[in-house]
């Protein structure tokens, strides 16, 4: 902890500090509330470390430029909110198929459409998984505090690099705009993973040849442009050489590998918090801003003698199926509290309803769910 420093910081600020500490050197974005500080702070701080900021003409361009920046070898990121996230989906899909590492921060606001620009929401949970067309991998992390925002944005970059895939950082306005104590780590304490680069002669390199694939991650090396490999990157379904193919078998295998590399390695990035679950008879599942209320509700319910605990997913995609099933086998009832009409709830229900009752606590007014509202529901209220 030698050179760590403490300060008071906003979630959005912690996100950029953490990203730069994790090696982010390229940011392209378009301002949108409540994510704007992420663009502003990138513009301010990136040049100080030799990094590059770009304010693009729209979100389509932002996501495109991020992919370009990553192809040129820089750890790249963009940040947006609701409508902007919708516009990014086209090129996010490209990054999935072409396997380009990058991070997309979505500080969620109320929707649909322009919705509630300055109010918190968790309405993009499903969009973070299914926003772009076709079957594709999805890793999304959701931090629950300012400190965690700082820590896990680094994890997001590391996962993007390791699995050659876009990673969505799903924040909400509550976390983005709240201020808390932040411990800024000494750079030596921050783990930085980098994409695997080819080591063979350029002539010998075949982009997606199995012999270059890491068996565990199912990922191939990715050389940066300008390093002599002269690869072809395309959003079309491609064969092992990286060039377009319509071969049915090759196409099917490609999409399956893309999904498998994420789904089958979930144990490598299953992040969650368990709070007072040891003897719990009921559990509240909540994430992001709502988890703050859920924790308070659990504390108060415990004081009233109720055996309640909390499960807080940080990895929100892929679904932490194993952990949720284990929890469901242990408790009588699971409440899912979220600021949407049940996006995560239906996923929990899908895997848990064979073992216990699953109840939704939902709110879409643009306000945080309060500890009292959770308490009332657990105490049998409507």
């Amino acid at each position: 902890m030698s050179n760590s420093k403490y300060k008071l910081a906003q979630g959005n600020e912690a996100c950029i500090e953490g990203a730069i500490a994790a090696g982010m050197r390229f940011f392209a974005g378009y301002p949108i509330t409540p994510s704007t500080e992420l663009a502003e702070l990138s513009a301010k701080n990136l040049p100080k470390v030799g990094g590059k900021f770009l304010q693009m003409e729209d979100e389509l361009a932002s996501m495109a430029a991020v992919i370009g920046g990553s192809c040129a070898g820089l750890k790249s990121m963009t940040a947006t909110s609701g409508p902007g996230f919708s516009l990014m989906q086209e090129n996010l899909g490209y990054a999935c198929l072409a396997e380009i590492p990058c991070v997309i921060v979505n500080v969620q606001r109320g929707g649909p459409s322009t919705g509630l620009p300055t109010s918190p929401s968790q309405g993009d949970v499903m969009q973070a998984k299914w926003g772009t067309h076709g079957d594709h991998p999805a890793i999304a992390l959701t931090p629950g505090s300012v400190q965690e925002t700082y820590e896990f944005i680094g994890t997001a970059f590391n996962l993007a690099e390791k699995y050659r895939t876009p990673v969505v950082y799903l924040m909400d306005e509550t976390i983005g705009h709240m201020r808390e104590k932040l411990m800024v780590k000494d750079p030596s304490e921050i783990e930085q993973l980098h994409r695997v680069k080819p080591t063979c002669e350029p002539k010998e390199f075949v982009q997606y040849d199995d012999k270059f694939m890491d068996e565990k991650t199912m990922v191939h090396p990715l050389p940066a442009f300008g390093t002599g490999y002269r690869i072809h990157i395309t959003g079309l379904t491609h064969d092992k050489t990286g060039f377009p193919t319509n071969d049915n078998e090759v196409s099917g295998k490609l999409v399956e590998r893309l999904c498998d590399k994420v789904e089958k390695n979930i144990d490598d990035f299953s992040y969650y918090e368990e709070y007072k679950l040891e003897d719990a008879e009921e559990a509240v599942i909540a994430f992001g801003g709502v988890s703050r209320s859920a924790k308070q509700a659990v504390i108060e319910l415990r004081n009233e003698g109720k055996k309640v605990g909390m499960f807080r997913p940080i990895t929100i995609w892929p679904l932490l199926e194993k952990q949720i099933i284990d929890l469901a086998k242990k408790v009588k009832r699971i409440y899912v509290a979220e600021m949407n009409l049940g996006q995560y709830f239906y996923e929990v229900q899908r895997v848990a309803s064979n073992y216990c009752e699953v109840v939704l606590i939902s709110k879409v007014t643009g306000e945080l769910i309060t500890p009292n509202e959770i308490k009332q529901r657990v105490n049998g209220g409507k």
Partner: protein, 273 residues
């Protein structure tokens, strides 16, 4: 510098990727060859060249040539290229795009890249039609012409892409055709040499989807039309009476001005001790 076509093919085209998918008589091959010749004339290091394309007939070009190549989403090539160039300003970044790709779906990216004056050379293969999707009208389909989505004649007004690029701030603008391939090569060379955003319109011929529908004849006839109906800017400036109904080709605008990544570098430099 090499002039022999097969030497160029060997040096710059990827092994085993030919034949290309373009129709017999398509002008795109000539335009791509002009690009390769320009790169060869400039003696650029292949490792240091990045060619980015969007979607459409033109944009398949990146698959055939042996550089760092990026085949992107429809309309977004210039935005991807902006990311590559800003991340690595030492690279020569070139965009190959079509008229629909860069001026309809990608129009916003085109004008803002012009405005930034970022050092990218964009070559628009203009075939006046959406070729790959089977012949729908594009922003450059002449008013009155026919297309599958203009079965009664196109009522949309035609876009002059070079004027658009110049108006938006591109610092080098030129136009030539598949018939004027040598001139096109020179324009591309000058565009690459220009430190800033260069826009080169290469007028192509699409006998399959534009020509047939509009009774323009075969490829030879379409190329002959281009030969007979273009006038060089230098002549046009001196003899305006010859300009009517003619396509003006040549160097249309050349006005260097501070380049984006260089301006950004001055900010980074402020923080280096």
């Amino acid at each position: 510098m090499m002039n022999n076509c097969s030497d160029l093919t060997q040096k710059y085209y990827r092994d085993g990727k030919l034949p290309h998918i373009w129709c017999p008589g398509c002008g795109h091959g000539i335009l791509l060859n002009a690009l390769v010749r320009a790169i060869d004339n400039l003696g650029l290091d292949k490792d240091n060249v990045c060619v980015v394309s969007g979607i459409g007939c033109s944009s398949r070009a990146t698959g055939y040539i042996d550089f760092n190549t990026l085949h992107t989403t429809h309309g977004r090539a210039i935005a991807y290229a902006t990311g590559v160039k800003h991340a690595n300003p030492d690279m020569t970044v070139i965009v190959v795009t079509g008229d629909g790709d860069c001026s309809a779906i990608g129009g916003n990216h085109l004008i803002h890249a012009c405005r930034r004056n970022i050092d990218i050379t964009t070559i628009c293969f203009n075939n006046n039609i959406y070729g790959m999707t089977g012949g729908q009208f594009s922003p450059t389909t002449p008013t009155g012409d026919f297309a599958t989505t203009a079965p009664h004649g196109n009522v949309d007004r035609t876009f002059d892409l070079c004027s658009l690029a110049q108006g938006a701030g591109a610092t080098y603008v030129g136009r030539a055709t598949a018939y004027h391939a040598t001139q096109l090569t020179t324009l591309i060379e000058n565009g690459i040499k220009n430190k800033g955003f260069s826009f080169i319109e290469g007028i192509s011929v699409c006998p399959t989807n534009y020509g047939r529908k509009n009774k323009k004849g075969d490829s030879v006839k379409m190329l002959t039309y281009l030969k007979d109906n273009c006038i060089d800017k230098k002549i046009a400036d001196k003899k305006p009476e010859l300009v009517e109904n003619k396509i003006i080709i040549g160097e249309l605008y050349n006005n260097p001005s501070p380049e984006y990544t260089e301006c950004y570098k001055t900010i980074i430099d402020k923080f280096q001790d």
